[in-house]
Every structure is written in structure tokens, then in C-alpha cells.
């Protein structure tokens, strides 16, 4: 009990330290850019105009986005994700892995321990890969920002291609791991086996 408490406290202190560091860096960047613009006064107008435009665009969506992220993490706890990933299989399992990965439940490094726990519980390797990848690159609120800055066409095309290739990647990695596990091959040799295998399928 005591052990976990001190661990949590340590984690909190660490987070506080990195927060302070981030604000110090921000202050340094602000100071440095002020000095640079003072040296190149003719550049200050274009630089400030661009920064101002991007700032305004972000200000219009950031508060709403933060509220959505906050609501998500309060209403969809992490336990829910673990509970639903473990037991589903087949196409339904893949869909569940996608949807759960897409929920804004936190940064990527949280996904790894969860994925490892799921793997021990017997979830399929392909679904684990899909879960991690969806978690990494298809986060629901973030996609709204992508539409805002890069347009709906770019976003939809990138998303649909990403979904297709994530599924493909899940299947391929599962096959490779199955094959190497059966033959008990060390990780260094995976790639040579894989290239041989792809030359003579079946």
C-alpha cells in the first residue's frame, strides 16, 4: 500500500517538474524571439501576422476541445477499455480495438501497459497492434483539428488509408510472430524469414 502511495507521489512531483520546465522553455522562446525580431525589424510584421492568425484559429477551438477531452476521460474510464478489448474476437474484436483506440483516453505511453495486459489476457496480436496504432494516430477530438487546418478531403482520405493499412499491419505482424514463434526464431532473424516467406506464399 505504502509503496504505491509513494510511487504516485513521485509521479506527481515528476509531472510538476516537467510542467515547470515546459513553462521555462516557453519563456525562453518568447524572450529569444522578441530579441530576434528587434534585430530584424523588417521581418517582425510578417512573422507576427502569421503567428497571430494561427493563434486566433487555435483559440476558437482549443477550449471546446479541452472540454471534450475532459468529458471523455471522466465518462469513459480506462477499465472500460480493458474490459471490452479482452473478450471480443473476429471482426467484432477488430472493430472494438479500433473504437477503443480512438477514444481520447490519454497519451500513447498509457496504451502500452494496457496493451501488454490485454496480450497476457489472451487478446489477438493483430487486435493489439490495431489498438495501439488507432490509439496513436486516430484520436477523435484531434481529427476535428485536422479538418480545421488541413481540410475535410485531406483528413478523410488520410484516415481511411490509415485504417486500411493499420488492419493490414495487424494481420502481417500477427503472421510473422506466429511463424517465428513456431520455429522459435530470435528477433534478429525475423526479417530474413519474412522475406523468404513472402516469396513463396503458402
Amino acid at each position: 500500500m505504502n509503496h504505491t502511495v509513494t510511487n504516485k507521489q513521485n509521479e506527481k512531483i515528476k509531472q510538476k517538474k516537467s510542467l515547470i520546465r515546459d513553462y521555462i522553455i516557453m519563456g525562453a522562446v518568447l524572450a529569444a524571439s522578441t530579441i530576434i525580431l528587434a534585430i530584424f525589424p523588417d521581418k517582425s510584421e510578417p512573422v507576427l501576422t502569421v503567428s497571430k492568425n494561427y493563434f486566433l484559429e487555435l483559440v476558437m477551438i482549443l477550449p471546446a476541445l479541452m472540454i471534450i477531452i475532459g468529458l471523455f476521460s471522466a465518462w469513459v474510464p480506462k477499465e472500460f477499455v480493458v474490459k471490452h478489448m479482452g473478450k471480443s474476437s473476429g471482426i467484432k474484436g477488430t472493430a472494438v480495438a479500433f473504437v477503443l483506440g480512438m477514444l481520447p483516453t490519454g497519451p500513447l505511453y498509457i496504451a502500452f501497459p494496457m496493451a501488454a495486459a490485454l496480450l497476457k489476457k489472451g487478446a489477438k496480436i493483430s487486435n493489439i497492434i490495431i489498438f495501439i496504432s488507432a490509439w496513436a494516430c486516430i484520436k477523435l477530438p484531434q481529427e476535428l483539428v485536422e479538418i480545421q487546418f488541413l481540410g475535410i478531403k485531406f483528413t478523410l482520405l488520410r484516415l481511411s488509408l490509415t485504417i486500411v493499412f493499420i488492419i493490414l499491419m495487424g494481420i502481417i505482424i500477427e503472421k510473422i510472430i506466429d511463424i517465428t514463434e513456431k520455429k522459435n526464431i530470435k528477433p534478429e532473424k525475423i526479417f530474413t524469414v519474412w522475406s523468404k516467406d513472402s516469396r513463396n506464399p503458402g
Binding site: M26, V47, L62, G70, L71, I129, A136, R158, M169
Partner: protein, 166 residues
Amino acid sequence: MSEFINSYLTVLIINLIAIAWLIFSIIKNKKKTGESLKIALKTFIKTLPMIIIIIIFIGFLLGFLPRDMITNIIGQQTGIPGALVTAVLGSVLFIPALISFPLASSLLSGGASIMSVASFITTLTMVGIVTLPVELKEMGRKMTILRNLFSFIFAIIIALIMGVIL
């Protein structure tokens, strides 16, 4: 003009979702709503420095770097090598996705090709050099190497297809 409408439509939709869900949350559970707002504020405080730094960086990028230079390195006619440059950048850098989109759009308006920008965003999110130690520890060497390797290759394929279509 249509781009103008498009960008404000997104702003409107995001804000409407937030407000509607917030009202629903307040009616359903006041305590949970308080919790959510606390998380929202914490997330905001945590991301603010990064946002400010990126905004300043974008200003300098477009204000100082001549358009020719961006175009020469990652522009339309650089093709696949240009996309490879941004793919490596995207793999090594650790920028939250949220902030990478304004950065990507600034590269686009600075003369970068769709292909380079797509490979930048996709590797930025899928390939993680910075998160590699955690991934190795939790998922093992085999899965980590395979996932990052395939993510890198597929990111470039995705970028290629996007460059052809858009």
C-alpha cells in the same frame, strides 16, 4: 471563400459538440462534470507552452525561411525523397498530434507537397522514437521493432497514395 466557410463550420461543430455534451453532463452528473472540467483545465495548462512555442515557430518558419527553400527540400517536384525527409523528421520529433496539424498546414502554405505533409503527420503519430523505451519494456523487442518498421513503411505508402490522389 469555400475554405473560409469550411474552417468556420469546423469551429462551430467542435464548439456545439462541447456545449451539448457539457449540458448533458451537468444534468446527468454534477460531480463528474466538475471532474471533467478539472481534467480539461489540467490538459490546457499542460499543452499551453507547447502551443505557444509552435505558434511562434510557425511565424518564424513562414516569416524567415524563403518559400523557395521549403519547396526545394519538400516541395512538389522533390517527390519521394521529399516525403522521406519529412518521414524521418516525423519519426524522430515528439509533437502532440493536436499541434502538428497547424504546423503541417503552415508547411503546406510554405510550399511543401501534400505527400511530404501526409508522411510527416502519419509518422509523427505512428512511429515513436521517443516512446520506444516504454514500448520495448511493455511489448517486447519483436513486436516493437515490427510495429515501428511497418508503420514507417506504410506511412510512406499512405503519403504516396495521397500525393497521387490530391
